[in-house]
Amino acid sequence: MTLLLTNARLVDPETGTVAPGALLLRNGVIAERFDTPTPDIGTDHVPQDNRRDAQGKCVAPGIVDIGVKICEPGERHKESYGSAGLAAAAGGVTTIVTRPDTAPAIDTPESLEFIRRRANEAAPVHVLPMAALTKGREGREMTEIGFLMDAGAVAFTDCDSVVRDTKVLSRAMTYARALGALIVGHPQEPNLSAGAATTSGKFASLRGLPAVSPMAERMGIDRDIALIEMTGVRYHADQITTTRALPALERAKRNGFDVTAGVSMHHLTLNEYDVADYRTFFKVKPPLRAEDDRHAVVEAVKSGLIDVIGSFHTPQDEESKRLPFEEAASGAVGLETLLPVLMRLYHSGDLDLPTLFRALSLNPARRLGLECGRLAKGAPADLVLFDPDKPLVLDRFKLLSKSKNTPFDGARLQGKVLETFVSGTSVYRSP
């Protein structure tokens, strides 16, 4: 299979440039990269049918989304590998890195093999599974990290169920370090944040909601960094969302620890006041923060202190959300809205396109040791073609996810995915 993508604006996170160019895709990789929009290649070499004119739109490395929840096994009515795969393709996400917080948790090689099989059958994009760090995500006994790595686990995490027992965590980290496994932590002091539905402050008090101090995140990252220093494990913080947690992260990186951090699209574009009159679609974990915090994490993405942006796609059915705010489930879907929502930061002048794709594609790929996330010759032909300017009004019922719980319903956005390629093959084309 050969495809010549001409007349494109190439968004290259490695060089930090956006420039006209063309790409020749062959055998699932980028066979050639041209600095001219219409390279001189004869039709005997690449036939007319195998040429695609990008019409001056942007081509970037496909998104690698770390921390996607697909509700198989357990709650397939909320999201399946089929529906999530279609949603990912429509959102320009070419690699989904799944969370193990299903019911039951993915904590054995057998259950990991089950979801890999389901993913291969049903999803048009790459799916890489993460496995639980402790059995049942209960924080007591570590999982079979070695067997799980052999079975294809790319990282180990208990997701939002923080391992409370520091001894258990330190042993799991020591063991993981010996195997070179990557641990993904959720920085949060679990006793302080227990039962919280929002971030403490004026808004939480006005609404009378149980709240957590943003300091709980800093305590979480402080503990984890001390354990990293102690064990030498490779560590990625799933979400850093507050100003107060950033200096600790900065220090850890400066000291040369193998630490990276992510942030969700929601914490980059929304703040606590968006909850307004108890709108449960805005209930996420950790809760939305103050506007100052939002600014600080946007700056941290810009400077590279925060490495990765993810959707933290968390499907919830209507019944889980149509409840009083405290009782309602947390999380929002985001695979399809990730790119258009983040274009807000591009249009506001906060982040340029190469910086965005450094956090969306290049850095997560590097962290997981993947070849993708680049536009270089020889890199996998996982690509997204998009128009950063095209306006749209989001209609949640048009989402391909089985669950429609997006906080951006009715939002006016700019930025649309036109086509997505996985291993050189088109898996989605905008209607």
């Binding site: 939480a204 009378g208 009159d277 108890y278 009083p324 405290e326």
Partner: protein, 320 residues
């Protein structure tokens, strides 16, 4: 009369003139209650359902009596024992009740925002009888009426609210109401029982009760819930009483004519001295209970009026 709200969900949505309208009408009902003048024509033929998802004695009794005095058919539903135990969601319960066509729905729920959510799903008028830590509007209104009757005005007064502010919907509604009517509100209590961001509410915060009570016109005590002790918010009842319990000595810092209020039920010897609570020269606690019925009659009267206006408008549009 200027009151066109469909529901009474909180003080936050009310304008000062609407609060005055409510209080003026409440005054009328208070007089009628004292003179035993019948007003059963006001809600005649209407149905009131009291849905309490959290146990209550006095608020429930007050709403029931208010409805009956106005001539409504009143039904009480203790929801803890009912369908929620069977797994029914709040919205389904609301829709079920809505299908029975009530006119007034009085709701108390342990979660903030739950009454708001429920009101979006029903056709009738909804009165919030307390939702989580959010609001308890009729309590704030009855407190305001009591103050207005005792002090002759409801503006430019200095009012101290003392105790567990963080977990109190009564405090939130009162802070908003008293602020809207241009009073100076002070909050007195240990820092562990203050909500976060409270300094942005336009109030003064005091940890020292004597300082906080200095020269105030009104001392409003809040109930300290027993479960707060287990939560580690305060070390013990006796230390709390020593530092934040209202007794004659601490009250001495307030103005000589300061009144003492408590939303009830009281913990004598925990937040208030028993003798002080019974002192008819200072305590208006019994008056608060009396005004509670009057305020709830006024609120239901006004909501029923706007309900009738809305229904009449619907009938016209159906005929047209």
């Amino acid at each position: 009369m200027s009151f066109s709200h469909r529901h009474l969900l909180g003080i936050e949505a009310l304008r000062p003139d609407e609060i005055s309208t409510l209080l003026d009408l409440s005054d009328t009902y208070a007089e009628r209650n004292r003179t035993r003048t019948s007003c059963t024509e006001v809600l005649a033929g209407m149905t009131q359902i009291n849905m309490f998802f959290e146990s209550s004695t006095r608020t429930l009794a007050s709403f029931e009596l208010a409805g009956k005095r106005l001539g409504a058919g009143v039904m009480n539903m203790a929801m803890q024992a009912s369908s929620l135990k069977k797994g029914e969601t709040l919205i389904d319960t609301a829709l079920t009740l809505n299908a029975m066509r009530p006119d007034l729905l009085v709701v108390r729920h342990p979660h903030s925002g739950a009454v708001d959510l429920l009101s979006q799903k029903v056709d009738c008028a909804v009165l919030n009888a307390g939702d989580g830590r959010h609001e308890h509007p009729t309590q704030a209104l009855l407190d305001a009426l009591t103050i207005r009757r005792a002090k002759g005005r409801l503006h430019r007064l200095s009012i101290a609210i003392c105790g567990d502010i963080a977990h109190s919907r009564v405090a939130r509604s009162n802070i908003m109401l008293l602020g809207k009517m241009e009073n100076r509100v002070r909050l007195v209590g240990p820092q562990t029982l203050m909500p976060s961001g409270i300094e942005d509410f336009g109030v003064e915060v005091f940890e020292d009760m004597r300082e906080g009570l200095r020269d105030v016109d009104v001392v409003m005590m809040l109930r300290l819930q027993k479960e707060r002790m287990d939560g580690g918010f305060i070390p013990s009842e006796r230390e709390y009483y020593h530092r934040y319990g209202l007794d004659a000595e601490k009250l001495g810092y307030a103005r000589d004519d300061a009144i003492v209020m408590h939303p009830g039920p009281m913990n004598r010897g925990v937040e208030i001295d028993g003798t002080l609570a019974d002192d008819i020269n200072r305590s208006v606690i019994q008056e608060q209970v009396e005004m509670g019925v009057a305020v709830r009659m006024a609120a239901m009267d006004l909501l029923a009026q706007s309900l009738r206006v809305r229904r009449a408008a619907q009938d016209v549009s159906v005929m047209a």
